[in-house]
Amino acid sequence: MPVRGRGNPESGILMLGEKPGQEELRLGKVWVGRAGVELDKLCWRAGIKLEEVWLDNIIQDAPTGDDWSVTDADIARNQAHITDLLSRGYHTVIAMGAVATRYLLGLDLADVDTDSEGGDVRADLGTVHGIMHHTDRFDVFPVFHPAASFHDGEVYPFVRSDFELAAAVIKSGWEGEDREDRIGDATHYTLITDSDRDLKYMEQVVFKEPGSHIFIDTEGADWCLTFSLKAGEGFMVRKHHREAIERLAYLVGVHGLIVVLHFAPHDIPVLRRMGWDLVRDGLEIEDTAIASYLLQIEPQGLKNLAYRHCGMFMKNYLDIVRPFSLDMRLDYLAQLATLDWGKPEPYIEEKKNSTKLHQPQGLNQRLNAVFNKLEKDGEKTDLYKWWKGLHQHVKGAAVEQYGDLPTADLDDVPFEQALWYACRDADATGRVYWRLVDRLLMPMADGQNLWETYKMDCSVIPHIEEMMTTGFKVDVEYFKALTKEWKGKQGIIRKQLADRIGYFINPESPPQVRKLLFEEMKLPVYKETDSGEASTVD
């Protein structure tokens, strides 16, 4: 039977979950199972009362079994319920969990797909939770799902703090922290070259009143550095404009600016290759990634932080280059399609309970299939994901001969777009920095803050960078010989084992070892895996 919502239908506030569990289905009421008990506790602690909200789920029914994912088919089946629910005039929706959040923000319901390029930062609950989002119909305030901490205790602080903030939204109409991007499109992103005019401009205008901090970012392949001294401004210097870089280094030193980077140990060597050694210049270095790490309930990606704290939308590098990658990739694949790649070697595929020999389709067949898909779906076809998913046995020879699937870089992108993209990172670092500093300086319940901890962690940035850059020398021949020796020992062990039990087994195969130890030798099960099978580890 469909599961009904409960609470006060006139409250104007909807607390929206995802899908009923078995207990809810049995009783026909939302939030009465284990997660419901957790929700009750969280609400009680935060002071949220049932008469202040209407509690409901996106999905009223659910297929049997333990499948908790919500699919487009679930949505389609429940469309009448959803339409009715969301047209009841709620001014605010507290979205509990990723599914409700993504649905209400109009995003793809599927999990963030790390195999794909790009992606919307708002699909990450860690980025959007505990902040207000204004949509055309209502305000959406995402919170972690009450059951999120059942399997991962580390999430509990997020859940607690979200419900405390939700209580402020419900009780006093708090609109969340001010994170509006007031600068919007009125940004000033500029290229600085080695020309006398540009150098003079940098010295006399850009550095006229430089403040105390400079925010710097670099792009891959030493393409450029960008810097920002105030919100909404950003300047790009290309790697070959050495005079501009030298002048910039001089000005930063003269003004005694603190250099702030995001994941500093990755940028420092790039800047050094461009001729500017921040460490040898003795500059004080800070890192916004350390700030977000210490605060713990923050995402660490710059784009996620910029959206979360400053309302800034930033483009992903891959989003910038993707349109320019498509043509290159089509040419590459078309070239491969003109050749005969033969039948690939079969490979052993190990699944949960079986090991089987898999004969994959050849590259030519796969190419035909993807060209058909391209014809049907056009640019929606994710060539990157498709290529990444091909087994090495299928694409290995092509990669060896023609290189991997090409991806465009900033050189292939119109310059204005590349300038905007690169400068925005430095601009965002500056805007995010001050928001994070506020939080680091805020006294916590014990009266102390995190500023000194932040300075301590920043003090070892030069060490980390040097360790990564210097590297640890290894004796390659030693490791090759060691591998040979150990593989030989493994062969001896397998032989001795076979002599002992009468047949060969693969000691790395859990099903084979499980069969030997627990079925044939009848050893007691010492530990179980998460799926309830006898563990063969240890």
Partner: protein, 317 residues
């Protein structure tokens, strides 16, 4: 089972270390491994690493030592490794104020032997190796909140199968009886988590949110209670290390500048730092590094550190 375990250990050595190390080193003209140090991942302030994870090479096993044997100093140079001796135990003594623990460290005594003496009610000189081993395992386990089952598993994995879970619970209870200051300290850590929703270590001020101590989910509550003291101790030990590293940086910079000597930071593995330098600088660096590690932070117990020198990592241990 031993054969299967051995096979798997070798397999892990080959697939997780040897082969990736060859691949990474082959990509570098100087055969150097440049791992990606993750300094914003571990809540205690420790570093982790990837591509490859050099910080995960086993320390105590023979295979681990063999793997370390393949890491070498550059031509004509040497490696120096300094580690903080029993730093987490010392920091626990400092934090808890347990008088007996503090006394033992001041007298440079054997903490585990003396604890075993109290636990098994025998004079120190009569403590047997096995009794000391029990006290040692419990002592280190206390930092992470070990329970009887965990201790039993640990013995089991080391080939000691005679202790039941009940025996192990008894060992833990006896350990706490002999170290009342530590017991009170652990309770204080839990109380701090309950009061503030987080705990803060006292040297670097790093916090860890632990509202889970108030969760009605027993698993979450127990996990967060254990973390309340393990965070304060392991994070405090890391703070001691980081403060010492910060003090050392300008001193080593000065040596580099005045003598033009190439001293390089190679790795920090939890309580150990590794540098690479010309052998003639071994003496001066030993003094500088040991001094920084031992005296940058003052505790109620002495901090001890010692340097080891060799041309390969395997021989440093």
């Amino acid at each position: 089972m031993v054969m299967i375990g051995d096979h798997r250990e070798l397999d892990k050595g080959v697939n997780s270390f040897n082969e990736p190390l060859v691949k990474y080193a082959s990509d570098d003209p100087d055969s150097r491994i440049h791992c990606d140090i993750k300094y914003t991942r571990v809540v205690s302030g420790r570093f982790s690493a990837a591509e490859p994870n050099l910080l995960a090479i086993p320390v105590r096993t023979s295979l681990g030592r063999q793997i370390r044997g393949g890491f070498i100093a550059g031509t004509g140079r040497t490696l120096g490794s300094w580690d903080l001796n029993q730093i987490e135990m010392r920091f626990m003594a400092h934090e808890s104020g347990d008088e007996d623990l503090i006394r033992i460290y001041h007298e440079d005594g054997d903490v585990h032997r003396e604890t075993a003496g109290t636990m098994f009610e025998v004079p120190q000189e009569a403590v047997e190796g096995e009794q000391r081993d029990v006290a040692k395992r419990v002592g280190f386990g206390v930092i992470t909140g070990i329970q009887g089952k965990g201790l039993k598993d640990q013995f089991y994995l080391n080939g000691i199968t005679k202790y039941t879970e009940e025996d192990c619970n008894g060992f833990i209870a006896k350990w706490f009886e002999s170290r009342p200051g530590v017991k009170a300290y652990l309770e204080e850590c839990k109380a701090q988590a309950r009061r503030y929703g987080f705990v803060r270590e006292s040297i670097g001020g790093r916090i860890r949110f632990l509202q889970g101590v108030q969760s009605t989910n027993k698993k979450v509550m127990a996990e967060h209670e254990r973390a309340s003291h393990s965070h304060r101790i392991s994070s405090g030990a890391q703070a001691i290390m980081k403060k010492a590293m910060a003090v050392l940086w300008p001193q080593i910079e000065e040596l580099r500048e005045t003598d033009g000597v190439e001293i390089r930071w190679i790795l920090q593995v939890h309580d150990e730092i590794i540098l690479e330098f010309p052998p003639e600088y071994q003496g001066v660096l030993d003094v500088l590094v040991t001094e920084a590690l031992c005296n940058t932070t003052r505790l109620r117990v002495p901090i001890k550190a010692s340097g080891k020198f060799a041309t390969n990592w395997g021989k440093l241990k």
